[in-house]
């Protein structure tokens, strides 16, 4: 699947396109098919996202979304060396998902 990510303009936070908004959780991301360019242009112009780009990902059996590249998985979770600053601070095992 193709999903979209970018950074929030004000805070810089990593965000993912949910179909009608942006979420900080990658699992909320939806397949944009061939609509990536159109959505990115519209959302960037409206300042709802900064520096968006599309990437490959897969939806796993449990419904979770896993970006294909490790760099995007680090973006999705947070720094692997600071579990306390990730989106899953109570689940240190989440680091394994990144690697």
């Amino acid at each position: 699947m193709k999903i979209l990510t970018g950074n929030d303009l004000k805070t810089g936070a990593v965000v993912w396109w949910t179909g009608n908004d942006w979420s900080i959780y990658v699992d909320d991301a939806v397949d944009v098919g061939d609509q990536a360019e159109e959505i990115m242009a519209r959302e960037e112009a409206a300042r709802r996202v900064n520096v968006p780009y599309s990437l490959d990902a897969e939806r796993e059996d449990d419904g979770k979304v896993r970006p294909a590249h490790i760099k995007d998985r680090v973006r999705a979770l947070g720094p692997t060396v600071r579990p306390d600053l990730t989106l899953k601070p109570q689940s240190p095992e989440a680091i394994d998902w990144v690697i």
Binding site: K10, V14, V51, I70, K71, V74, P79, T80, V81, R82
Partner: protein, 544 residues
């Protein structure tokens, strides 16, 4: 240390307000990201993997307690409670909000700091010897010259849009503690046969994807022509440096392609032309700067310490440096606790270091390019009290220049350019060698890790270097041996095929075993490598 005059303060304050307006227009949609990006970069604001990142300049690594304390406050007020000291003697914050950026710059300005020219294709922060003005082995304090160059290079209208970024280091000792010959320009303050002080110029060094050691292009430039000669070096680069390919745009490529001799000829020609153009600041300006770096009022006192506490004695042996006054030492605060993140310090730790500098080091600190902090002037009589406080703040790791004192760039955990993570390797290696007890046995061993070819972790200059690469979407690590950024400068050579994360940690252990088995009396790892060559290490790593 240097104090802003009214002109400096007004200039920095004006820049803060200018950026405040630019950021406001970006947030209001009056500027696109393409329009805003060069403006934010000129003020040190990057967009990294997780958020905006702000890089703050620490000129030649020198700062006072109020400045250090302000850096700690920024970490707590605007970031997530910590900052990261970098390999160019600066500090970075990883979780900055655009809407806060101008306020942070305003807070910095109150303590005479800024983030100007910490990004972009301009002359970056001038770096220097972290023991400058304190060490026993320097000719003079290099910082007045670094400050003169800083003032010349700040907002220099001709050098705001160079082909690529430009880094200058200034030292004044035979011992190179600033990786001087791995800079675009390395300047060594020297004395000639007539006893006059001048500057030796090395041009065209650097790390990155094409590492090069800067050749010497002039062995002596009189001090009253220092800035003019630097201007000549920059002018030739600005005119002929490549702008068609960013990977070939650094001055090292120009010097290499022209040849050092031809580049030097062109610089000398430009220099001769510039000599009567009024480029050089009047000599009184240098004399005005020198008192800012005058010695503090040293007092005689005890010259030895009580070594009855073995932990304290080990820290003294490893983490102090001989001072020019025999009742003082320079004390190094390691930001490399076992298993920690190299260069990271919490807001509280930063303020603790500021307080200790005020109490024990005439209000002065230095940032090392190896991501540690120096208290330059500590009375030997105060060392135990200082160490006790450092230890309580988890800042007392006794590991300077050991295999646990690892340089590591932020890597893929933070950096948008990185291909692999650096920090986890540093953590695991320091834990492994601390646990095995081999650290002491290995002695001086400089291990440096970069998460991509840009080499912010200085892997080319590591006795052992590790470079993270992307191999079909997986992290992979190349091992290299034999680098040095010191006065015996050399570039490390790759051992062979790369390793995965576990494999490269095993490989580090393997090459240290080869060293222990083959070393002769007094040899460091680097000395043994240079004597026996790569073959024994390759055999141990890959078999025959």
């Amino acid at each position: 240390m240097y104090k802003y005059d009214n002109y400096d303060q007004q200039m920095v304050d004006a820049r803060v307000e200018e950026f405040r307006g630019q950021a406001k227009r970006r947030l209001e949609g009056k500027l696109t990201e393409d329009q805003f990006k060069p403006l934010r970069l000129m003020n040190g604001l990057y967009l990294q993997l997780h958020a905006y990142m702000l890089r703050v300049a620490i000129p030649y690594g020198t700062l006072n307690s109020a400045q250090m304390s302000a850096l700690g406050d920024i970490a707590d007020k605007y970031d997530r409670g910590y900052g990261h000291f970098t390999t160019r003697q600066n500090i970075q914050y990883n979780w900055i909000k655009l809407e806060d950026a101008a306020d942070i710059l305003a807070d910095l300005s109150k303590v005479e700091m800024h983030a100007i020219q910490t990004s972009g294709n301009c002359i970056r922060n001038i770096s220097s010897d972290h023991f400058a003005g304190a060490t026993h082995d320097e000719l003079v304090d290099p910082r007045p010259y670094a400050e003169l160059l800083r003032q010349w290079s700040s907002f220099h209208p001709e050098f705001t849009y160079l082909p690529r970024k430009f880094k200058i280091a200034v030292i004044a000792a035979e011992k190179d503690r600033a990786a001087m010959r791995l800079h675009d320009i390395g300047i060594q303050i020297v004395k000639n046969d007539a006893g006059e002080i001048g500057a030796r110029f090395f041009v065209g060094g650097g790390m990155g994807r094409t590492p090069m050691i800067a050749p010497m292009i002039r062995d002596f430039v009189p001090l009253d022509q220092l800035v003019t000669y630097a201007e000549g070096c920059l002018r030739v680069y600005n005119r002929y440096g490549r702008r068609d390919n960013k990977y070939k745009a650094r001055i090292k490529i120009l010097v290499h392609e022209l040849g050092a001799e031809e580049y030097t000829r062109q610089v000398e020609e430009e220099f001769a032309h510039l000599l009567d153009q009024g480029v050089e600041p009047p000599r009184p300006e240098l004399e005005r700067l020198k008192p800012f770096f005058a010695d503090p009022p040293f007092e005689d006192g005890p010259k030895t310490v009580d070594r009855s506490d073995p932990d304290f004695a080990l820290w003294v042996d490893r983490n102090t440096h001989r001072h020019k006054h025999d009742s003082y030492v320079s004390a190094v605060i390691s930001l490399k606790p076992v298993g920690g993140i190299p260069g990271d310090a919490t807001g509280e730790q930063i303020r603790t270091m500021a307080r200790l500098a005020k109490q024990y080091s005439f209000d002065e600190l230095r940032v090392m390019h190896t991501q540690n902090i120096v208290l330059p002037h500590v009375k030997i009589a105060d060392l135990h009290a200082l160490w006790t406080e450092l230890d309580a703040a988890e800042l007392g790791a006794p590991n300077l220049d050991t295999i646990e004192d690892i340089i590591a760039c932020p890597g893929l955990d933070y950096c948008a350019l990185a291909n692999a993570r650096s920090i986890p390797l540093a953590q695991r290696i320091s834990e492994r060698f601390d646990k095995s007890g081999k650290t002491a046995e290995l002695g001086e061993l400089k291990l440096k890790i970069s998460g991509c070819i840009n080499a912010c972790g200085h892997h080319h200059a590591g006795h052992i270097g590790i470079l993270g690469v992307d191999k079909k979407g997986k992290e992979n690590y190349q091992l290299s041996l034999g680098g040095s950024e010191a006065e015996d400068v050399s570039l490390a050579k790759i051992t062979g095929p790369g390793f995965d994360e576990d494999g490269v940690i095993e490989a580090v252990e393997t090459v240290t075993d080869v060293y222990i088995a083959q070393r002769e009396d007094g040899e460091r790892f680097l000395d043994t490598y240079r004597r026996i060559g790569m073959s024994p290490f390759k055999e141990a790593l890959y078999g025959k």
